[in-house]
Each structure stands twice: as structure tokens, then as C-alpha cells.
Symmetry: C2
């Protein structure tokens, strides 16, 4: 292990409510376990590092650093950037100049691929580095980990929203008959399935779930909705944004025309809502959660926040122990009471692999999930995060970009 070297952390991809807990975990573990080394932050992921946007995190106000534990959005700013030609060399030049031997990349599966490539480039250049991926994604689609930091909070928010808007639907069903909630999830149904956590009784929302893992059929969908409606007088449906039919055509890709006569795409939920109204003649509403589900720190999961912090800490401990080229994972140690611990998996194994909802957790009709999923997801939404409130609203923090600016 190299003493008095420096470290850098950056974030990539879509944020989660608890993503900055991982930064806090890295920060705390770094300064607790090292002497002399700095922890830099790349602002806007590797794109920012390439452009020289680097801060010395310790120069931030204490209140801002503490605030990372309850602030959503990518606190260090994020990017979506694929390494281009010469980029790895440029990054290494910066790392050498700042004596950076530790790189922590907080992101999803694309980011693990990027971290792996940087590790390769460092090796080729003979620049000793310890590179650790810290997972984050509300999609829960990373392999080799029980779940991903960020998923629990999104799941909790979605389930609470289904319960609330489900009660709303039930109470006004003489007017509205069908509510459709569109959750994120291009290729996996983890978020949509989380809606089922809301259900306490058979007649409660949700009644139907449509997941990208199951080829979508308009005909079966309409039959399902009609059946529930005939039984209860109302029907609550959760759908994934990425639903596609058996031929792989996205439901959302059906063209309509805007005011200028241009073709445009509309959301899967909105499309199905209109179909319910025109085909079944039932009044329907669509709620499209969009980015609210990945930013709703005001009702985040305490379990999730703790685990995001833990993965940040573990990343530092692994790196300081001389490990590299791995992604931190979460292992479930016990179910009741729930407990978990950090684990590790080689970066090269996780890069660009997408983990889908197990098919055996989906019912035979392909329109709901089984109790195995409920047992799996329930502990991940336990507990709430205390947030300082000012003027009735969460008082989130922001880094001061003029504090600790690193000159290259």
C-alpha cells in the first residue's frame, strides 16, 4: 500500500436519493484511515476530471459535508460519457500530476466498465492504482450484489405513492375507474414490482403489474384490466416505462403528432391510459413518476441510506488493503432481523451486465409478482431519513464550487 498518496471520487449516470451517502462514506473512511492524503472530487464524473474540474473535498464547509447524507441528486454532479481515444492517457496524466493512486467511481453498470478501462490503462502505464466501483442505481439491475444502493429508497417512494394514490382511486371510483402509474425501468421490472409492497389486502392497489421481463400484449392487458374492474369497480396498474411487445417494439414508441406536425413519442403509461379510455370506455388517469422516484429523499429508506454509506466506507477499506479492480457489493446476511455486509466482485465481471427480475418471481399470467419478491424487497424500504426542514421544505445542501478548487 502506498502511503500519503491521494484519492479521487466521482459520480456517473442517473442519481439516486442516497447516492451522496456513498461519498460521505468514502470521505469519512478516507480521513479516518489515512494520514496526509487528500480526497479529491471529480466534478461531473470522468468528463469533469478530463476537463480539470476537481475539488479538494475537505475544503467544503462541515455543514455541507454533513448534508451529503440527506441530499439527493449527484452532489458531485454526474455525466454520461464513454471514454474516447486518448481519454485514458489524459486521465492518467492528471492522476500522476496530483499523485492520485485511488479512484472511486460511484455509478451503474456503464460506470463499472469505465472504471475497468481506467484500471487497464493504469496497468499498461505502470501507474500503480487502486480502483474500486461503488454501485448506485435505482434500477437494481447490477449483478453479483443482493441489491444496489438507491433501489430501496426508490422502492419505498413508489410503494408509498401506490398506497396513497391507490386509496385515492378507491375513494373516488364512482368517477375515476383506472389509475396507471408509470415507473422507471427500461429493461428490468424491479421498480414496478416494488409497487406491490403497498398492498395489504387483496382489493388494495396495485392489482396488476406489467414488467419488461414479460412480452407485453395489449389484448391481455385490456382483458386483465376489465376483469379487475368488473370485480372491484376500479383497477390500479403499475407499468414499466420500458414495456415492449413480443417483437421487441416499445409500447412508448407509438407516434403521435405535435403542434408543428412532428411525430413524437409518448410514455408507456399515458399510452395505456388512453387505450383503457378508448377501448374499455373507462375513465383513467396516468401518473408518470419520472425523476421524482430517484430524487425523493424526503421519504427515503434509512436502510438504503445506511447501506450506501457502508459501500462508500468499504470501498476505501478495500483500496487501503491493497485491493483493486472490484465493485463493492451488498450481501444479505440475515432476513429477520435483516442485516447486510459489504462484499466484493471483480469489475470485469459486472461491467455492462444487466440483472433482470427472476422469472420465477413473476406469476404465471405475467401480470404480478410472487411473495418471494415481497420477502426480498420488504427489508430494503425499512426506516426513514431525518431531513432538516426550512420554511416547510427539505433544506438540501450544495457543494461550493469555489472552495477547494484544484489548479492543474
Amino acid at each position: 500500500m502506498i502511503s500519503s498518496a491521494n484519492a479521487i471520487i466521482a459520480q456517473s449516470g442517473g442519481p439516486t436519493a442516497v447516492i451522496n451517502n456513498s461519498v460521505a462514506g468514502v470521505f469519512d473512511a478516507w480521513y479516518k484511515n489515512t494520514a496526509g492524503g487528500r480526497l479529491y472530487a471529480g466534478i461531473s464524473g470522468i468528463k469533469g476530471i478530463l476537463e480539470g474540474h476537481i475539488l479538494d473535498l475537505a475544503a467544503q464547509e462541515k455543514s455541507v459535508l454533513a448534508g451529503l447524507k440527506y441530499t439527493p441528486g449527484a452532489g458531485l454532479f454526474s455525466c454520461r460519457y464513454k471514454l474516447g481515444e486518448g481519454d485514458s492517457q489524459k486521465l492518467l496524466k492528471t492522476f500522476k500530476k496530483l499523485n492520485i493512486r485511488f479512484f472511486f467511481y460511484n455509478g451503474g453498470n456503464d460506470s463499472m466498465d469505465t472504471a475497468h478501462k481506467i484500471a487497464e490503462a493504469a496497468k499498461d502505464n505502470g501507474w500503480e492504482m487502486y480502483i474500486i466501483g461503488i454501485p448506485k442505481t435505482i434500477d437494481n439491475d447490477l449483478p453479483y450484489t443482493d441489491h444496489t444502493p438507491g433501489y430501496g429508497s426508490a422502492a419505498k417512494y413508489i410503494a408509498a405513492t401506490v398506497r396513497e394514490t391507490g386509496i385515492d382511486l378507491e375513494s373516488v371510483f364512482t368517477k375515476n375507474k383506472v389509475t396507471i402509474l408509470e415507473a422507471m425501468g427500461r429493461n428490468t421490472g424491479w421498480l414496478t414490482a416494488a409497487g406491490a409492497l403497498a398492498k395489504r389486502r387483496e382489493d388494495e392497489a396495485p392489482h396488476l403489474l406489467y414488467l419488461p421481463e414479460v412480452p407485453f400484449s395489449y389484448q391481455l392487458f385490456l382483458e386483465d384490466v376489465e376483469e379487475v374492474y368488473k370485480q372491484l369497480g376500479y383497477c390500479y396498474v403499475v407499468v414499466s416505462e420500458g414495456l415492449a411487445d413480443a417483437d421487441g417494439n416499445y409500447i412508448a414508441a407509438a407516434p403521435t403528432t405535435d403542434a408543428f406536425g412532428h411525430r413524437q413519442l409518448s410514455g408507456a403509461g399515458e399510452k395505456l391510459k388512453n387505450m383503457v379510455e378508448t377501448e374499455l370506455g373507462l375513465k383513467a388517469r396516468c401518473n408518470t413518476l419520472g425523476t421524482t422516484q430517484r430524487a425523493a429523499m424526503h421519504f427515503a429508506s434509512r436502510t438504503d441510506a445506511n447501506e450506501a454509506y457502508m459501500t462508500g466506507q468499504a470501498a476505501v477499506m478495500y483500496a487501503l488493503a491493497g485491493k483493486s479492480r472490484l465493485m463493492v457489493t451488498i450481501n444479505r446476511l440475515s432476513q429477520e432481523p435483516y442485516s447486510s455486509a459489504a462484499g466484493e466482485i471483480g469489475l470485469e465481471k459486472t461491467a455492462n451486465i444487466e440483472r433482470k427480475l427472476p422469472l420465477e418471481w413473476i406469476n404465471k399470467k405475467g401480470n404480478y409478482i410472487t411473495n418471494e419478491f415481497i420477502s426480498y424487497a420488504r427489508p430494503l424500504i425499512e426506516g426513514e431519513v431525518d431531513i432538516p426542514i426550512q420554511n416547510g421544505l427539505p433544506d438540501y445542501v450544495k457543494l461550493d464550487m469555489n472552495k477547494g478548487k484544484v489548479m492543474l
Copy 2:
């Protein structure tokens, strides 16, 4: 005042997060100030009363009655129903049979009209009644009251969501450039304007607000978005579902109408999002809040919940004092510290009148609100409501429809 007569309460129209606080206020005030009289609940508004769905509220479990103070949705179920021929006579027959002399109707402007008609019918029939309207609507569009119960909680949730998804947008703006949030509001911009409560600094969300009070221009909208984008690199827009152009054409027009002939709207945000992508070439996202904004008790306003309870109490006190044919209002007594008290206005004055956002609270360009609105709305979102949590989710209650069933 008539002694040992009975009372009935019912709910109508779209729910709010705090609507059941008004029922709790009526219940508590009724049993504190009367002796022997029952408080019945009409299940599903006057439609339910017409069909004989009536409960004796005191027969419910204590925990359920207490739970009304933190449970969203219409706890007594709601309806949208216009009185038809013979309905008033049928209602009066039920009122006479159950010796009901007090009718509390918890609803919006359509409901005040209904309550007024029932008062007329009772008078024509010589059946002495005390009829009081208890306002509720997230739309804040009732006249003669400083604001409506339900508005503060929806405003708080919208503002929190704008702050959270605004931070999200800022932190990922290398990818997403524009976020559009669609709030409810057919003809008034009160909810959309509430998004402005999120803003602490000039560069923060929201940057643009489009309100139904201002005729919408596609051209000006695109110019506005482009201007903000050029300055900041991103742009956050809140729009009302009911935006219409200078000719009165809705930006989004849906195929159905409700029982009152109101057009049901959805999709303005989605439409504008697509326009930003096709016309400006900027990657955009649309979050459609839908029914989440009227059901989000998990982040409701304490001030709002208290006032909803107060209006329920006041309704009983007015009725027991021999007053009738009035709607309870909320008067703002002082601004700092904020305080309010119940007031009253004749039902015939409020019926079917819609209060719009004052034009002097909208800026000259018609794309934002002034500080007068902020001063007005800020106190209404203060404080939070404690909610019991079970398994990580709000543990809302439901009436037991088998307890206290009234046989006619």
C-alpha cells in the same frame, strides 16, 4: 336550535391529503357539543345517501377515527354527482326518517352548489335544516376564503418535488437538459405557482411557470426555454394541465368529460416535453404528478391539516348556533407569525364561482409569479404531519363498512 336531532356528513369531488381532518373536526366538535344526537356519514357523497349507504360514525374503532387525521383519500368515499329530478325529495325523505337536521358537505365549488340546492329543497318542504359547506380542494379556486384546506399540502408536495427533481436536473445536466413538471389545475395556476416555493437562488428550479391564467404561446414558450438553457445549461419548467392558447384550445385535450361536463385533461407536460426535444433538440423529461399531489399525506402540511380540522369544527359550531346555508372560510389573521381563523360566507355566493390567481401576481412576461404570491403561499406549507409507519410505509386507515351500518 333543535335538540337531540342527528347530523350527516359526506364528501364530494377529488380528495386532498387532509380532507379527512375535516371529518375528524366535525366528529370531535359534534360529540363535544351535543347530547344524544348521532353523526352519520354518507358513504360516497350524496349519491351514497340517495342509495342508502349511511354509517353511524361513532361505531367505528377509536383507532380508525383517530387515523382520519393522517389518512389521505376521501375517507367517507366521494362522488361526482349532479342532483337529478326527484333527488332532493328522496334525500329529504331519508333526512326525515333519520331525524337529520344537520348536513355538512365537504367538497369544492360544485358541492357548494349541491348543498345550496338541498337547503332550498328543505326550506320548500318545511323541514328545518342547518346546512354548512366545508371547503376542500387542492386547486385553491374557491372564492371568499383566503385559501382552501388541501391546497397547502399539495403546494408543499409540489414544491418539495420541484426542489428534489430540480437538484437532480442540475446534477445531470450534461445529459438531460430540460425537466417539465405537470401540476394539476384545469383553469387556475395556484398549484403550478407553488412550484416557485422551491427556489432559493436565481439559478435554482423552477425557472419558468406556465399558468392557465395566461394564454399559452408555443413560440414564446420555446423562446423562454432556449433563453434559460443558454444561460444555465439546463431549464426547469412547471406547467398546469389546463394550459390553453389564446383561442381557448387546450394544449392537451382528452377524449372524456365528467358528470358536470368538464373536460378531463392530461398530457400538456408530455406534449411540451416532446416539443422541446423536436424543436430545440434538447433532451427533456416530463414528470406528471397526477393524483400523487392530492394524496401525498406522507409530506403534508401541518398548517393545512390543522386548518382542515378547524373548518370541520367551525361547521358544527356554526350549525349548532343556528346558522345555515353557509360555507366555512379561512381568514388570515396575521402573516408573521401566521395565524388564521374560521369565517363564513353564504353558500349561494360561492356556488360555481372559480377564483383565479390574481393577474398582478403574475410577471409581465407571463412566465413566472411575483413575490406577493410567495408571501401568500409560504405560511401554508409550514410544518409536517406525523404518520405511523408500518413495514416502512404509511399505515393509513379505512372505515369498516360493516360497523354502524344504518338500516333505512
